[in-house]
Symmetry: none
Subunit: 410 residues, 2 copies
């Protein structure tokens, strides 16, 4: 399998505002070809740094893709830097110059003298046509090393990659198949989850396993690569069939779907309706549920009851219950859920009441209530982090409680 490095060129990509997104597209394309991207770099318009970076990449990897720096101005240094790193000359191409001039003419303009810079190619390079702009790309083969120069504007880059690079890669690379699986899980920390499944995945380098914590949940990626699709599928299944039983119902999604989408599907399948009653989260739970297109099939609405008075007036939580147990309690969480269920005539109702902080002795204590056609339950959790995380984790906990209840896995 070939390794690739991607080098994005341009000082604007070193500002706090700009992120290199071309490399995401290129990674997707390269992975599909069986080429792994092992390193990415962003370098400004600085000749020496650029030559160094290209040089390092050429020493380590078989494919080096450069994006940007092919414009007509003085700070467009990719052409000359690649030539320098390869120890080759830059040569002027009258053909390319004529094509650029023709492009200008077509748009009723005259080519500026400066655009002639774009007609220089690295000696021995194949020219990659640019149907969407003036800068041609270049493809250089050098003893098993492939160096590719692509323009920075995403639309130019994509068109050029698809029309000019894909056919060349297909000739160059051995056929390879990639099969992947993407699990999402809530209710375990990253380290607990890793401890559970590491004995399995550390035995394999293929498929490769990646574990990642994100917004209070854990993502697990498995990716198998083989010459044959059937073989990749078999390897993937071999590892997946060991990991899945270890995680069991803690896996809520096997295809990358979000928790709110999974819960929505379960409700829709059951033709059931849901409402919410939110205190600490103030609407975040409803906001997540309704982020799914089509959520009106199962979500009817709910109540934001930020004050005790609202809990009583809007949800019918008895004032003396709040007095006795405090607003953050199992009793009040249950009463909130029952109130929402009753007043919206929904089958299910989730409630959240807790201390999101930042101040107070009990920050992170949250109660989740769930009213169902069969009764009501509540769960106490102690959540880590700051106000934002406590609120986000609260919605995870609530959605997962509903998921488990709908699936009958308690």
């Amino acid at each position: 399998m070939a390794d690739a490095e991607i080098i994005a060129v341009g000082s604007e990509l070193l500002t706090p505002q700009k992120v290199d997104t071309n490399s995401l597209y290129l990674t997707d394309q390269l992975n599909a070809l069986g080429v792994e991207v092992v390193r990415k770099a962003v370098v400004g318009d600085d000749r020496q740094r650029l030559v160094e970076t290209i040089h390092g990449a050429m020493e380590r990897s078989q494919v080096v893709v450069l994006t940007g720096g092919l414009g007509p101005t003085e700070d467009d240094l990719t052409r000359e830097s690649v030539a320098s790193a390869l120890g080759r000359e830059l040569v002027f191409s009258q053909d390319i110059c004529d094509q650029i001039a023709e492009r200008f003419r077509r748009f009723g303009r005259v080519m500026a003298e400066i655009n002639k810079r774009q007609a220089y190619i690295v000696s021995g390079a194949e020219v990659l046509n640019n149907p969407r702009g003036t800068a041609p790309g270049q493809w250089i083969s050098n003893n098993g090393l492939t160096v590719i120069l692509l323009p920075g504007p995403p639309s130019e880059l994509k068109a050029m990659f698809e029309r000019e690079c894909l056919p060349r890669f297909e000739k160059l690379l051995p056929p390879q198949a990639i099969r992947s699986r993407f699990y999402r899980s809530v209710g375990l920390t990253e380290s607990d989850l890793d401890e559970l499944i590491a004995p399995v995945y550390t035995k394999y380098t293929n498929p490769a396993t990646t574990i990642l914590a994100a917004s209070g949940e854990i993502h697990i990626h498995l990716r198998a690569r083989c010459a044959e699709a059937a073989q990749a599928e078999k390897l993937l299944e071999e590892v997946a069939s060991q990991i899945e039983p270890l995680l069991g119902d803690r896996i809520y999604s096997r295809n990358g779907d979000s928790l709110e989408a999974v819960v929505g599907r379960l409700l829709r399948e059951r033709k059931a309706h849901l409402s919410v009653a939110e205190s600490a989260t103030g609407g975040l739970l409803g906001g997540r549920i309704t982020s799914v297109a089509g959520s009106s099939d199962y979500f009817v609405g709910g109540f934001l009851t930020y004050t005790d008075q609202m809990k009583t007036e809007l949800l019918g939580v008895p004032a003396d219950l709040i007095q006795e147990h405090s607003a953050v309690s199992e009793a009040v969480a249950k009463a909130m859920a029952q109130g929402a269920q009753k007043r919206t005539h929904s089958d299910y109702a989730l409630s959240i009441t807790g201390y999101a902080g930042p101040d107070g002795a009990q920050v992170g204590v949250v109660f989740i209530g769930l009213a169902t056609p069969d009764g009501v339950q509540a769960r106490r959790v102690q959540l880590p982090g700051d106000r934002e995380r406590i609120r986000m984790f609260s919605t995870n906990t609530a959605l997962d409680l509903l998921r488990r209840t709908l699936l009958g896995i308690g």
Copy 2:
């Protein structure tokens, strides 16, 4: 001025889905300190590649910042790779181990054996506390070279940089006065805003002006750098005093405060209370309002009325009004706001009803209602983008309508 390189560590950052955004925050912070970011790299969880990359960065630049790879699992290789690149040992710190264990205890859990990996530090490193997670950071000084290890999760990284790194940088770097201003604005597109103020800011390279679109609003940063604070302040004032009149009341914040924080402050000053009635946004508006600590001073609660029936039952919107005008109409937006105001006894009530998509002829049409002590109004907007953006922009429009009304600027 010192040069910095940023190395983001993690195989997930080499997938087509994930982009390194921590480096944007770090670039902003480092630039403000007068440190230029000259190269960025992304490396997977591969020891040899990581050591090579760190080595190269240390040879070229005075500051090397690594993000990620400080977790407890086998593929978290930053600690050992930095030690190896520096030719130092990793040493176990019982202190850090105790702190991690204590953190687990606080959340009612037992530390997994695997977390002990996080208690190893590069010999001679200063430990950077992590108030938001288990992985401590590290700060290593080595003959004019500074190597910094920061955790990958953005909230942990930011908190650590601000509390632990900024004070250390201020001691390290030559005194330079930087004065900045951070305006936030809603209601103008980026290009319209740029057209308004470009004639001013393009005349100056110091202060530097940055314009950035984010979540439907525009951020404007001015940053002046001088040897003397008074001089930086004077330059900043010279540009700010020309820009501010051009934008007028479209600037809602001069210190970076969010729109929900600004609206909250206005309500608190007036001892006024707010409620909401949300349809298309399903809780996002309440979620934003309550993201501000202390919002219980002015936010009482509200209603999520996703169906017509809920609008009628929970808010008292007449069914025939919905029938006549449709649920997405000026009349219904007004009735929703009035219903929320009446049923929560709040001084002000905001409502949102609209088509968030993805399907339908009128996607992006949204009505915002606002009930005040003096009456009720509604505003129709046509918002661009997908479901997520339409919902986010809707909450911006609602909060800005309330802001302008509270300020009497219509």
